[in-house]
């Protein structure tokens, strides 16, 4: 009896404390811009998520330490752990949106899909940099969602274009076999319609190898099929534990690594390193800088990592995924700065942030000013085009590090854009009544 009473009392106290915390909305500081970071350092995708989270956090923290924030206003950062789990992602969203959140970057297609309809209602933009719903690139239907710099369909078209280049022209793809190994979820399935269309157009055969989320670390059967089918090229759309497993399996069946190309989410250092020496020559698409040879990254090292304000090791700075996280934060920071210029306010709201992102213009000069010359292709967002279909390059693993292996390759915009618009119209129709765009265009 006594233990039960103590137990009840303890639970009551714990609940009381928790309840008071959950019920009282934390008052937002008057002089800061609040940026929640939905990150995942736990769960099946943590291996990729940790580097992204570090990059996102460190760049914004560096702006706080070095410049005192943006436009003289500090950034208030808060990480919320989603574990790549949609339920927890929504919980994080609900828990932070009341504190004046400026923008959400969920880093998960699943969570992005849940947030897209909410964005317009809560007036907080969603930045899904190079992932999420491809159709969201149509800004006239999705004014609150941004997938700059590229959609998956852009990526798929770049891969085929690059393979065509290797073969001496797209017309030489006729009769070739291209294998597509992908995470069997919305993320991996999205490029399939475009790839099928390209297969028909250029006469190559598309072989599909789905990998279920539960089988990410057990792909032997898929690679057995690859060995049997003998495709000329392999394209991978993987994430988390799927990437290193696939590379290891490819090495095991002696698939020629220079004919194995991953999407930008299969481009992590840990992914390629898992294959050991055999992984030499593995290629992946990328749109963020390679290496740590950038003044802004030096600043991160000096102001954040050396000051002990980060959970990053100094060596991981410059890794592909770390740099990707940095680029994500660069877009957020530039969005805030643009919004401040447009509105004249220092402390902005989600609505201002949307305007800022829609007027985002990250040109060559601005990148150099940020200390990130050559870190990314110049980006410009317009009201109609929230992705921009910016060029992508191919990088190659040399056994120790990534190096750039091609110039910037333009996506096949003429093919992708009509598909995007059609998909956006379909989305709006399926989710009828989908609200028409009411937001004025900032530029």
């Amino acid at each position: 009896m006594k233990t039960i009473m103590q137990l009840a009392l303890g639970t009551a106290v714990a609940l009381g404390v928790g309840l008071s915390g959950a019920m009282t909305t934390v008052a937002q500081a008057e002089d800061s811009n609040y940026v929640p970071l939905l990150t995942y350092r736990t769960g099946p995708f943590a291996a990729s998520g940790i580097h992204i989270a570090n990059g996102m956090h460190d760049y914004l923290k560096m702006l706080n330490e070095r410049d005192g924030g943006i436009g003289g206003v500090k950034l208030e950062l808060e990480e919320c752990e989603t574990g790549y789990n949609a339920q927890k992602g929504v919980e994080c969203y609900e828990a932070t949106k009341g504190k004046g959140a400026l923008v959400y970057n969920p880093y998960s297609t699943g969570i992005t899909l849940q947030l897209i309809p909410k964005a317009g209602v809560d007036k907080i933009p969603v930045l899904s940099m190079g992932y999420g719903l491809s159709a969201a690139a149509d800004g006239s239907v999705f004014p609150w969602v941004f997938n700059v710099p590229d959609t998956y369909w852009d990526g798929a078209s770049v891969v085929i274009k690059y393979i065509g280049e290797q073969e001496g022209g797209l017309e030489n793809l006729k009769g070739k076999k291209i294998g597509y190994i992908f995470l069997d979820a919305g993320y991996g399935r999205e490029p399939i319609p475009l790839l099928e269309q390209l297969a028909e157009k250029y006469g190559f055969e598309l072989l599909q190898y789905p990998v279920g989320v539960k089988e990410m670390q057990n792909q032997s059967s898929q690679w057995l099929n690859v060995r049997r089918d003998r495709p000329d090229y392999m394209v991978m759309w993987g994430w988390g534990a799927m990437n290193p497993t696939a590379i290891k399996e490819a090495v095991k069946i002696r698939f020629p690594m220079n004919k194995f190309i991953g999407v930008w989410w299969s481009a992590g250092d840990d992914d390629a390193a898992a294959g050991g020496d055999g992984a030499k020559g593995y290629k992946a698409m990328n749109f963020s800088g390679v290496g740590s040879d950038f003044p802004a990254l030096d600043d991160i090292k000096k102001h954040v990592v050396d000051a002990g304000l980060s959970s990053t090791d100094a060596e991981t700075i410059g890794g592909t995924l770390y740099n990707r996280g940095v680029l994500n934060s660069v877009i957020i920071a530039e969005g805030i700065r643009t919004a401040q210029e447009l509105t004249g306010k220092k402390v902005i709201t989600g609505e201002d942030m949307r305007m800022g992102l829609e007027a985002l213009n990250l040109d060559e000069a601005r990148l150099e000013e940020l200390g990130l010359k050559g870190f990314a292709h110049p980006m410009k967002v317009t009201c109609e085009d929230h992705a921009g279909s910016h060029p992508v390059f191919i990088q190659e693993w040399d056994g120790k590090a990534w190096r750039q292996a091609s110039g910037w390759i333009e996506p096949m915009t003429d093919l992708v854009r009509p598909m995007l618009e059609k998909a956006a119209a379909e989305y709006a129709e399926k989710n009828a009544p989908w609200p028409a765009r009411t937001e004025p265009c900032p530029n």
Binding site: I4, L19, A22, E81, L113, P117, A185, R189, K430
Partner: protein
């Protein structure tokens, strides 16, 4: 003292067969209902409603569903997540085929599909039981999940492969979609959950519920007494799947707004099974207590460091929460293997004789 039954005379069969024969229970339930229907909507903020109360009620309903099958009829099932998924996909298809129909009706109707599929996968229960049956239902889980990914018709061939809940109105009030206010969604979920729980409380103490429990306790004896095992077991599967299906549909329509096939994976089945085991097999109130423990406690634990002004990294909080909840599960199952419902029963017994125990 608190539960003194002395003086509470039952003078008619009606009073004797009442759902809650003891005055104190009736008062307790009224207080809970007042809190649920009046106090919480009046004072809670959006976060409390959307991230704590709505998921809690959805999981409670799912736990009731599984409890009917596993707790009352003794048929072990690992397919709960998939049966919830069937409800969700059915409700999604129904509301896209009949866009003008009442979405609450569609959610309630979706359970019928789930019930039919549940009954089909319940067929082996006539021949096999226990762990063997669990493996059959596990097959249901994998097969149905496979269907959710592969059959494009189920998700209207969306490019994303997920189902997204459209904007739907009920009597002029937005009930689903992003514009639906938390309070409206909360009331819908609360009414459905409370309604089904009340219905089941009556079914379980009636002829049907008793025949389920006879099958659970000793099926051969039950058969000798005239209970037909096939019908009884299949009915348990159907009713259980119906409730799980409704819970699954509510999960996507009134809580998450969109769902990928992975939302209804095996981990959801385990989550609900843990709620049932921890809450107490064969107890309706246990289903609520289990859901509260598994869903609400981690959310609260996450807020405690922030409230006390301790700065801890988000992932550390996650790890610590995981450890605490895990340790508590083990602790509670050691203290009382029959779950919270049994703990509450013991407490009630103690309160009945307090302050003069014998």
């Amino acid at each position: 003292m608190f539960y003194r039954e002395a003086g509470q005379f039952k003078t008619s069969y009606k009073a004797d067969q009442a759902l809650m024969p003891i005055l104190q229970d009736r008062i307790g339930l009224s207080v809970i209902l007042v809190v649920a229907f009046v106090i919480i909507p009046a004072f809670a903020n959006d976060f409390f409603l959307t991230s704590i109360m709505i998921p809690f009620l959805v999981f409670s309903l799912a736990a009731i569903g599984l409890n009917i099958l596993t707790g009352y009829c003794g048929q072990l099932s690992l397919g709960t997540g998939a049966f919830m998924g069937v409800g969700a996909y059915a409700a999604y298809k129904l509301t896209t085929i009949f866009p003008d129909a009442n979405v609450i009706l569609m959610v309630l109707l979706s359970g019928v599909f789930s019930a039919a599929i549940g009954a089909i996968f319940g067929l082996p229960s006539l021949r096999i039981k226990g762990l063997y049956l669990a493996v059959t239902t596990l097959a249901a889980q994998f097969f149905l999940e496979w269907c959710f990914i592969r059959i494009g018709w189920l998700y209207n061939y969306n490019a994303s492969g997920a189902i997204e809940v459209p904007h739907r109105e009920v009597f002029g009030i937005v009930a689903s979609g992003a514009e639906a206010t938390p309070i409206v969604r909360y009331f819908i979920v609360l009414c459905i959950t409370a309604g089904i729980a009340f219905l089941m409380a009556n079914v379980l103490r009636g002829r049907i519920g008793r025949s389920w429990m006879m099958i659970r306790d000793m099926d051969i004896a039950a058969e000798l007494m005239g209970i037909r095992p096939l019908q009884t077991k299949l009915m348990a599967f159907a009713v259980s799947s119906y409730i799980c299906g409704v819970a699954g549909a509510m999960m996507v329509f009134f809580w998450l707004n969109a769902a990928e096939p992975s939302s209804y994976s095996i981990s959801l089945s385990f989550q609900v099974l843990f709620m049932v085991i921890l809450g107490g097999l064969g107890s309706l109130s246990g289903a609520f207590m289990g859901a509260a423990f598994i869903w609400i406690l981690p959310v609260f634990l996450k807020f405690i460091p922030g409230t006390l002004g301790i700065q801890i990294a988000a992932e550390t909080v996650e790890h610590v929460t995981f450890m605490i909840v895990g340790a508590l599960i083990i602790f509670f199952l050691i203290v009382e293997p029959h779950g919270f419902a049994r703990l509450w029963q013991i407490a009630k017994q103690k309160l009945r004789v307090w302050p003069f125990p014998y």
